[in-house]
């Protein structure tokens, strides 16, 4: 009752403002949101102003467990480098790659899907069969080929991951566009003589944004994982730079002697996954038209 009257009082409330309100009352999603924000802030700040630098070697304290001694809060690795700074630097790389690859996937996927869905018929059939073929190629296989063909370049890593992950997005957008095409307002738009480009931009895209935003929050962690297993395989970021995947790989090698080298980056990776997934859940509930 209360919610109903308050929404009636809000003048000209947009669907987005409504969604933001619904998201903000979702505790798990909000907590996740703040954790991601804090983590991002730390990933930016710590490698610059942290107690140690990324590749400074502390000769007296090699492979020590987490301690307050000389501010090695997360301990040090086999080379005596501070794990706290390295984990935060890993966050920097992993989050950046997660976001940028998703951006690449987003641009390719949404454009491709919207065009296929809007034009439908033969255009759609050809475009979607191409995706089916590409889908059949294992993601990891494709990324490995791309990375080994173009070398270990930070930029190329996320372009190649993004270039592989866009297909699901294209399918989601295409499905939505196909459904929206049947709506009467699409017919009305055509009856009003609006050109196809305008219909695509103003009628189709805003309507697909809901599911796309949700999928994006799920795609970011997927891409972080892809990067981490690329790094685990030695195809990702190179020394002295590091990412969570690389840290986990190195930690796994010393698992029995120094479990914290594995556990700390793994915990951060898991926490990030959880947070993005909770945020995705929250966004889905907030943007679900059925709740409106």
């Amino acid at each position: 009752m209360a919610a109903e009257s308050s929404s009636a009082n809000r003048l000209g409330t947009s669907i987005w403002r409504d969604a933001i309100y619904r998201f903000s009352v979702n505790r798990a999603a909000m907590l996740s949101f703040w954790i991601i924000i804090i983590l991002t802030g730390m990933a930016i700040v710590i490698p610059i102003w942290g107690p140690h630098t990324l590749d400074a070697v502390d000769w007296d304290r090699i492979l020590i467990p987490p301690t307050f001694e000389n501010q090695h809060w997360f301990g040090t690795d086999a080379n005596g480098r501070d794990m706290f700074v390295r984990t935060m630097y890993g966050a920097r790389i992993s989050l950046t790659i997660g976001v940028l690859t998703t951006l690449v996937a987003l641009i390719i996927g949404v454009t491709y899907g919207a065009i296929a869905g809007y034009f439908g018929g033969r255009v759609d059939a050809v475009m979607m069969r191409m995706i089916d073929v590409l889908y059949a190629v294992p993601t990891l296989f494709l990324v490995i080929i791309l990375v080994s063909a173009f070398g270990n370049n930070f930029l190329l890593i996320f372009i190649s991951i993004g270039a592989v992950e866009w297909m699901t997005l294209a399918r989601i957008v295409r499905g939505q566009a196909l459904a929206i095409r049947q709506k009467e307002y699409m017919e009305a738009a055509r009856a009003l003589g609006l050109p196809a480009s305008r219909i695509l931009m103003q009628y189709i895209l805003p309507n697909v944004i809901g599911p796309v935003v949700v999928y994006v929050t799920l795609l970011i962690p997927i891409n972080i994982i892809v990067e981490s297993y690329l790094s685990f395989l030695g195809l990702g970021v190179q020394e002295p730079f590091t990412s969570w995947g690389r840290l986990i790989a190195q930690g796994a090698a010393e698992m029995e002697a120094a479990p914290w080298l594995l556990l700390i980056p793994a915990a951060f990776l898991t926490l990030t996954m959880f947070c993005f997934n909770f945020m995705g859940d929250g966004l889905r509930d907030a943007l679900d038209p059925k709740n409106r």
């Binding site: 003048l11 000209g12 409330t13 947009s14 669907i15 439908g120 018929g121 709506k183 009467e184 307002y185 017919e187 009305a188 738009a189 055509r190 009856a191 009003l192 003589g193 609006l194 050109p195 196809a196 305008r198 103003q202 009628y203 805003p206 309507n207 038209p289 409106r292």
Partner: protein
Amino acid sequence: MPPLLRCDDLSVRFNVRGGVIDAVSNVHLAVSRGECLGVLGESGSGKSQCFLAIMGLLSGNGSASGSVSFDGQEILNAPRKALDRIRGRSIAMVFQDAMSGLTPFMRIGDQLTEVLVEHMGVSERSARKRSLEVLEILQFPQPTRRLRMYPYELSGGMRQRVMIALALLCKPDLIIADEPTTALDATIQAQVLEFLGGLKRRTETSIVIITHDFGVALELCDRVMVMYAGRVVESGSIADIVLRPQHPYTQALFQANLGIDADPERDIPTIPGQAPDLQRLPAGCAFALRCSQAIPRCHQLRPELTKRFDGHMAACFVEQPQ
């Protein structure tokens, strides 16, 4: 003076699994300037598809043949660019379902101004002014405030008026209204009809009203065309259609329409049977199976649309009193 809209031998076909559907067959019609044509018929009689074809809005599996000229220009199956210059500007369409006729993610104001900017090339500001003007004509409550709203914040009646406003923005020569009042409650229905009637009188706008409601046709139309199973079965002036209908279907349709003074105790008169399957039309008259006056010939031959008296055509073998 040649008619504004002229349609010769218009047929619409749909390819479906298991064959083709002849949704509209050999329709001839003409609408003059300032005239209001009513298109009557039950669901599936092809009345909507006929005008969607004229507007070039058939769905992908549909195809139209024949000829449609608007203001002397052939528009049937014209390229999209040519159609986009006419649609929304010279011919506007009002759709039946106000609930889903507006895109949910755009403010009302933006949806209105967009059309003006697209067709008239006017500035955003004068487009906004014109939108307000039209909404005020439509007696839209608090238009300035509501321009900032999204469709879901408006009632059905308000949305329908926005749809009508969209159609009126560019001062079109022809408005095609596909059941414009079906989704509205009775008071708003009356307002909308009154408005359309006023529009017809004040400006020389031609109106086509597609409806299954005799009352709506009576209110507005000069001429009426009755469709059944994709064909025109009768056409004539509204007075003749009401006073001396020549086709048993028109008579039955008129009887099935309840007046305000209808006896609540009496059963509502209905037309027995169902509309025929358009994929398996009988050889004879499509209405013969439901017709109380059918003679054996009706089941073998299809009656052509013939002139009954001045300005009145009907497709029936049975002679009716004139």
